[in-house]
């Protein structure tokens, strides 16, 4: 017996959902969704649970991560209840549920909090640079170390515990006795989905979206590797330098396309943009752009006189690494891959 909580949709609305109440349960969204199948029929089930406010069940659902938001369900919804947007909001809400710090929820819901955090971090970086007397060398150096440290800490103290929490909620709470062997045998899912986002291919819309995403993910991960482990800004190796240029350019180009689509609202996916969506694409884009420019300035020997370019890059990097990666939309990329893995495990 479950008690209905009509107030829940209000909470979901603060994560971006709207009009979900308009649903009259025709099931069209589930039927048009090419990712939905007999075992995992969504989005209507998610819409229904949201409307009824059965958050306990939602919390343990993996379905929201199975959706790649092609928007077909929203375009064809006879009640314009925006099921696609609901799935997106549920992902944000779930992120907040997984996050032990509670910051995810706060940042999703309050634009003021986000701006404050961004400003504080920017001020911090500038303050730090001034302490370093705007010395390019030492700034580049500390910047590099910061990257490594940040990745390690964010992963160890935030992402890892959150993934464990996700596992507890979605797997452990429902299926207590799963042999450990299963986790290993299905581990491939995690990596395949993390690196290729293979599932998007199941969506009915054009393949370009998948290619764009694939390029972006590969470029992003490669750039991360190139800057952190190959020390792109510090190396003299021509191959690495060229690689970095390509990666950062690719990131910039693809994200600019995304931004343009969101501005034009041309497709269902790009119709509704939550602040966190804007932040994700814009910051990723800026990262690519500033990284490219910084390396260009290094190669042209102009960085010494234009250290602010690097400071801007560093600000963006810090904001990215400390806000968007641990608490923002970046996590979706992680949870999604884990969700696919978990799903394979519980099967």
């Amino acid at each position: 017996m479950a008690r209905i909580n009509p107030g829940f949709t209000k909470e979901l609305k603060s994560f971006g959902a709207f009009d979900v109440n308009a649903c009259y349960n025709c099931g069209n969204c589930t039927a048009v969704c090419s990712l939905s199948d007999e075992d995992n029929s969504f989005p209507r089930k998610m819409v229904r649970l949201s409307v009824l406010g059965l958050d306990g069940e939602l919390k343990t659902s993996l379905e929201p991560w199975l959706c790649y938001y092609c928007g077909e369900c929203s375009t064809t919804c006879p009640r314009q209840a925006e099921p696609g947007e609901l799935m997106m909001s549920l992902r944000r809400w779930l992120t907040a549920q997984y996050d032990w710090t509670g910051l995810s929820g706060l940042l999703y819901r309050s634009l003021t909090a986000v701006i404050t955090a961004f400003l504080l971090l920017a001020a911090g970086v500038i303050w730090f640079a001034s302490v370093q007397n705007f010395n390019p060398e030492s700034l580049l150096h500390t910047g590099h170390y910061f990257e490594m440290l940040a990745i390690a800490c964010v992963f160890a103290f935030i992402l890892l515990p959150n993934i464990i929490r996700m596992w507890l909620l979605t797997v452990y709470s429902r299926h207590k006795k799963i042999p450990v062997k299963r986790y290993f045998s299905s581990l491939g899912e995690l990596f395949v989905h993390m690196f290729t986002q293979k599932r998007t291919l199941g969506c009915d819309d054009s393949k370009t979206r998948w290619i764009e995403h694939l390029i972006l993910v590969i470029s992003y991960l490669a750039l991360l590797f190139t800057t952190v482990f190959l020390d792109w800004f510090g190396t003299d190796n021509g191959f690495i330098i060229a690689l970095g240029y390509i990666e950062s350019a690719a990131i910039f180009v693809v994200t600019i396309l995304f931004v343009a689509a969101r501005l034009k609202k041309s497709t269902e996916v790009s119709k509704h943009s939550h602040p966190s969506d804007w932040m994700f694409v814009v910051w990723l884009s800026l990262m690519g752009l500033t990284a490219f420019v910084v390396r260009l300035f290094i190669d042209l020997n102009m960085l010494e006189n234009n250290i602010w370019i690097y400071i801007v890059h560093l600000i963006i990097l810090v904001q990215w690494a400390l806000i968007i990666v641990p608490f923002g939309k970046w996590t979706h990329f992680l949870y999604r891959s884990f969700a696919m893995w978990f799903l394979k495990v519980v099967e």
């Binding site: 017996m1 479950a2 009509p6 308009a22 649903c23 009259y24 089930k45 229904r48």
Partner: protein
């Protein structure tokens, strides 16, 4: 009947015989045309239409037989007219659907062809053959042949008759002064006929007066009633009786006589308003207020709401104790008033008596047992009486409201199998209204599939968008209402959530009750208006004659005919008014010439026919030295009650003479109609 068989081969041999056979022979001279209708498959799918035609083509007197796809279609009608003229037919049979549908159509055809319309006979081979015996094609075909033969036998003996013309009173009685009745009355009055508007209650407006905002115009029930009342009162042709009931009816279409009993209000017309209010205050009697569905009380001297029409309170004499308190403060009270009886003459009666809301049984979803379970009409009154931004009932604040749909409609075990049509929309509209007016209202709709048909769908959408929650179950697993730890909890297995059991703690449970026929159906019984399977008044044919009843001259409108919303009631009221008006408009009516005829030769006045006749149509009269019965043609209704009582069989009914009936019987038992297959 033996002739029929022998005549088959040779007609001309049948010349010199006895006088009665002479008469038959006369009849046999008829040139008869027979049309057998396929009814686009309705008949021909089960009855071998061609075989029927073949079986009767050699019948005596039959000069023409045809089958046709649609006998009633214009092209066939034209063909019939041409055939009648070209073949000089003087008797026509169409074998098709029930005469209720198209007897008049084909009579009109024969008339157009210059043939007397009573030389037309209709054979029903659809409702009583092809449909009834769709399980037995051979049997159906045989039966169809016999029925057509008996129709031929009847048409052979048919006479040319003239309809009886009677004067029709150019007045219409409209029974029920709800919105449908008032609308019909106004419409009739504007068309120029005298209207008697008869309302049983002391106040007009019926059910609509009880509602606040009306879907979808937001006009209140009171405003609509006021508008119609003003219209009614502004028309000199309308006479309104309140507290009035029809207690006797006689006569028939064109000339109904109604006896109307008008119950007094016990208050004089010219009165002092201030004093009346004092009288109401002074009355010590308190009874549940039916107008508010018993959620409040009223005095024995009462009106339904301030400025109720007519604007004069009434004394409910059944509950009045005659304590005299009111008389002390008000000089207009007059207990000496007596019921009045009026006789009115009308040409047509329009019934607009409305509906009763379904009254749940004790214990049905907790009704009558759990104190916060109410019906939709009660809920509407509760909303009406709550001011401010808090919805309260019995002193408690209401936040969660559970609405249980289809209470009294679409019953699985009960008798009401029908859908009450208006309740989904009405309830959603009321729920939206409550949510807009009051703070913190959550609406939970426990339904069996929402039926907001047509444009009303936008209300369903609006309410969903406002956050109302819809939970659905099938007929066989209705929601449950229980008291758990002092809280009223409604639970359901929700088919929208994979049959999950869900529950809501409700501050108020509203049973969305449907419409049922008026409990007091005395007027229906008095006028003999038949009821349908749903027990509401029944029309002749939903599409062909949707507002007429089998009782000539009586039309029906509004929710008395079946559940309807206001717009639909109004529409049917206007349509019924048009029909009633058409009946009385010309001041003259042509009635069926079916009447009793007395053979003066055979009659030995004994008076038995006079005793049997419900219309006093017989009078003894001296003719050629003996007393015989004479029929008053304008009084006789052709019921035939006199036929069997006459000891000397001196009475015959037009169109149903012994000759006709017996020849039909003969045809029905005649030889096996299907020739044995060679």
């Amino acid at each position: 009947m033996k002739q029929a068989r022998s005549n088959k081969s040779d007609t001309k041999q049948q010349a010199k015989t006895s006088p009665s056979e002479e008469r038959l022979k006369e009849a046999y001279k008829k040139r008869i045309g027979v049309y057998v209708c396929h009814c686009g498959g309705n008949i021909s799918d089960y009855v071998d239409v061609e075989k029927v035609r073949q079986a009767v083509e050699n019948e005596e007197g039959v000069f023409l037989t045809k089958t046709t796809m649609f006998a009633c279609a214009d092209s066939n009608q034209k063909e019939m007219v041409e055939d009648i003229a070209a073949q000089k037919l003087d008797g026509v049979v169409v074998a098709s659907c029930s005469p209720k549908l198209h007897l008049l159509t084909f009579r009109a055809v024969t008339e157009r062809a210059g043939l007397n319309k009573y030389n037309y006979v209709h054979a029903n081979i659809r409702e009583q053959v092809s449909w009834a015996h769709s399980d037995n094609k051979k049997g159906a075909t045989e039966k169809a042949i016999k029925i057509v033969r008996s129709a031929i036998a009847k048409v052979r003996r048919s006479e040319a008759l003239e309809p009886i013309k009677v004067e029709a009173a150019q007045a219409v009685a409209v029974i029920g002064a709800g919105v449908a009745g008032m609308k019909a009355a106004v419409k009739l009055a504007k068309s120029g006929v005298q209207v008697y508007l008869i309302e049983r209650e002391f106040f007009v407006g019926g059910r609509v007066a009880q509602w606040d905002n009306l879907c979808v115009t937001d006009e209140t029930g009171k405003e609509l009633v006021t508008r119609l009342y003003d219209d009614v009162m502004s028309h000199k042709n309308v006479t309104l009786f309140t507290g009035a009931e029809v207690v006797e009816k006689s006569g028939s279409v064109g000339n109904f006589s109604l006896k109307v009993k008008v119950t007094p209000r016990y208050i004089r017309m010219q009165c002092n308003k201030g004093e009346l209010q004092k009288a109401i205050d002074a009355c010590p009697v308190e009874v549940p207020d039916k107008f508010n569905f018993n959620i409040t009380k009223r005095k024995a001297i009462f009106h339904n709401y301030p400025s109720e029409y007519p604007q004069l309170p009434a004394i409910d004499i059944e509950n009045c104790t005659r304590c005299g308190e009111c008389e002390k403060v008000c000089s207009s009270i007059d207990f000496s008033q007596k019921p009045e009886y009026l006789n009115i003459k009308v040409g047509s009666i329009l019934l607009a008596t409305g509906f009763d809301p379904y009254e749940p049984q004790k214990g049905e979803f907790g009704y009558g047992e759990i104190d916060n379970v109410v019906t939709l009409p009660q809920f509407k009154r509760i909303v009406h009486y709550c001011s401010g931004d808090k919805l309260q009932f019995k002193g408690r604040d209401i936040h969660n409201i559970a609405y249980i749909y289809c209470v009294g409609s679409r019953q699985v075990n009960g008798e009401n199998k029908y859908c009450s049509r208006y309740c989904c929309t009405s309830n959603i509209y009321t729920a939206i209204d409550a949510k807009k007016r009051f703070k913190d209202i959550n609406n939970f709709h426990f339904n069996r599939g929402i039926r907001t048909y047509g444009k009303q769908e936008v209300l369903y959408d609006e309410s969903s968008r406002m956050g109302d929650i819809y939970l659905q179950s099938f007929e066989d697993s209705p929601p449950k209402v229980e008291v758990i730890d002092g809280k009223t909890v409604v639970s359901i297995n929700d088919i929208l959530t994979q049959d999950k059991k869900l529950e809501v703690e409700a501050d108020l449970v509203v049973l969305v009750t449907g419409m049922v026929p008026r409990k007091d159906n005395s007027i229906g019984s008095l006028l003999k208006v038949p009821k349908g399977r749903d027990k509401f008044f029944n029309e002749i044919h939903m599409k062909l004659r949707p507002v007429e009843t089998v009782i000539d001259g009586i039309t029906i409108a509004g929710a008395g005919q079946g559940p309807k919303n206001i717009v639909e009631s109004m529409t049917s009221a206007l349509a019924a008014a048009t029909k009633s008006y058409t009946i009385v408009a010309s001041g003259e009516l042509a009635l069926e010439p079916t009447i009793a005829k007395v053979s003066a030769d055979d009659c030995e006045w004994c008076g038995k026919c006079d005793d049997a006749c419900p219309y006093d149509a017989f009078t003894p009269k001296e003719i050629n030295g003996k007393t015989v019965a004479v029929v008053n043609k304008s009084v006789c209704k052709g019921c035939g009650m006199c036929l069997p009582v006459c000891p000397s069989n001196a009475i015959q009914l037009t169109g149903l003479s012994d000759n006709e009936v017996e020849s039909m019987i003969d045809a029905l038992v005649e030889r096996s109609p299907l020739p044995a297959s060679p």
